[in-house]
Amino acid sequence: MSFLNMFGKEKERPTAATADDRLSLVLSYQRSDIDERKLKQFQARLIDLCDEFGYDVVGQVEIRPQSRPRDNTTILNASIPVRLRVNTDNEESADL
């Protein structure tokens, strides 16, 4: 592998690093014993909440549990791509 790299071959990500990421995710789900349905409901509530506060969700929402074995806790990481909603009603009335 390192021999090929000498000739400018693009360096691949180590498979152990991929395994490490997969293991983190698998163990997090296992330890938190999260019900997929419950997680989907949670996701829908977060989208509603974004809407309520004037944000449009513009991409895929991702919620990943992350476990901390040392203190036996789970962290839920939510990634929600949003854009501040433009208030079109006000703009239209201003045009008039």
Partner: protein, 266 residues
């Protein structure tokens, strides 16, 4: 009152990770150190420990016979000829694990405590009835893990069960480590496995072709002075015996490293 003997269950989440090899090797190494050791096979229906120790032809009675009262405990113990400090209590091969209860195994181990300083209980793979029998009498547990996702995932579940059984200590052995693969980024490192499982590291054992030879001959790998795995198991035994032994440098025996040393590169 100070407890004179310690019962240690050697377990894993999945099969084939090296539990019986660990029990046979560490048990024999402790016997070589002069300790009184009993290794007990609780994998009823599929015994293996007798083969690892080369004692398969000397078995008359087994664990189920003792539990049922067909034989006395002393009659069922098979002493090693060369290392009489070491005795095996074999599992029954033609019976079912349902024939033995956790309370019966606990009583059996309590009886063994009078005679032995260390009682190693070789657990069957999985988390079913056989596993419950194996952990019922244990003071401590050793979890054998291979550095791969399925083994670590299943071990994590076993740790949860061991913790709920209130064991005083749960230690980790990472077995079948290939330093070259770890270095190339193709195998989980021992540190990563330990970080995920968050239990005390007792030992690191490298992958070793001599293990296959030793299980073929019935001579545990600790008897092979050239084997790095044998040295790793010997070190584990010494740590269990209370000694402070550093972890092996697993790369020291690789061919490239030897050549590097010859030419003073490393």
């Amino acid at each position: 009152m100070e407890q004179k003997s310690v019962a240690i269950t050697v377990t894993s989440g999945k099969g084939g990770v090296g539990k019986s090899t660990t029990v046979a090797s560490v048990g024999l190494a402790l016997a070589q150190l002069g300790r009184q050791v009993c290794v007990m096979d609780t994998d009823i229906g599929l015994r293996k420990l007798d083969l690892m120790l080369g004692l398969e032809n000397r078995i008359v009675y087994d664990l189920v016979d003792v539990v049922e009262g067909t034989s006395k405990l002393r009659q069922s113990l098979v002493r090693h000829k060369e290392y009489p400090n070491l005795a095996l209590l074999p599992a029954a091969q033609t019976r079912y694990k349902e024939e033995v209860t956790p309370a019966q195994v606990k009583q059996l181990v309590d009886d063994l405590r009078n005679e032995f300083e260390f009682i190693f209980i070789d657990s069957p793979a999985g988390i079913e009835g056989g596993f419950r029998n194996a952990i019922a009498p244990a003071d401590r547990a050793i979890l054998v893990v291979n550095p791969e996702i399925p083994s670590v995932r299943d071990s994590d579940r076993v740790i949860g069960l061991l913790e709920s059984a209130d064991l005083a200590q749960i230690d980790l052995i990472v077995n079948r480590v290939q330093p070259g693969m770890v270095k190339d980024g193709d195998m989980l490192s021992v540190e990563r496995v330990q970080n995920h499982l968050a239990i005390n590291l007792l030992g690191i054992v490298p992958e070793d072709r001599r293990i296959i030879r030793s299980s073929n001959t019935g001579e545990p790998v600790v008897l092979d002075g050239k084997s790095l795995a044998g040295r790793a198991f010997n070190n584990i035994a010494r740590r269990i015996n209370g000694e402070n032994v550093p972890y092996l440098d697993l790369e020291e025996s690789s061919l490239i490293n030897r050549i590097k040393r010859i030419f003073h590169i490393a």
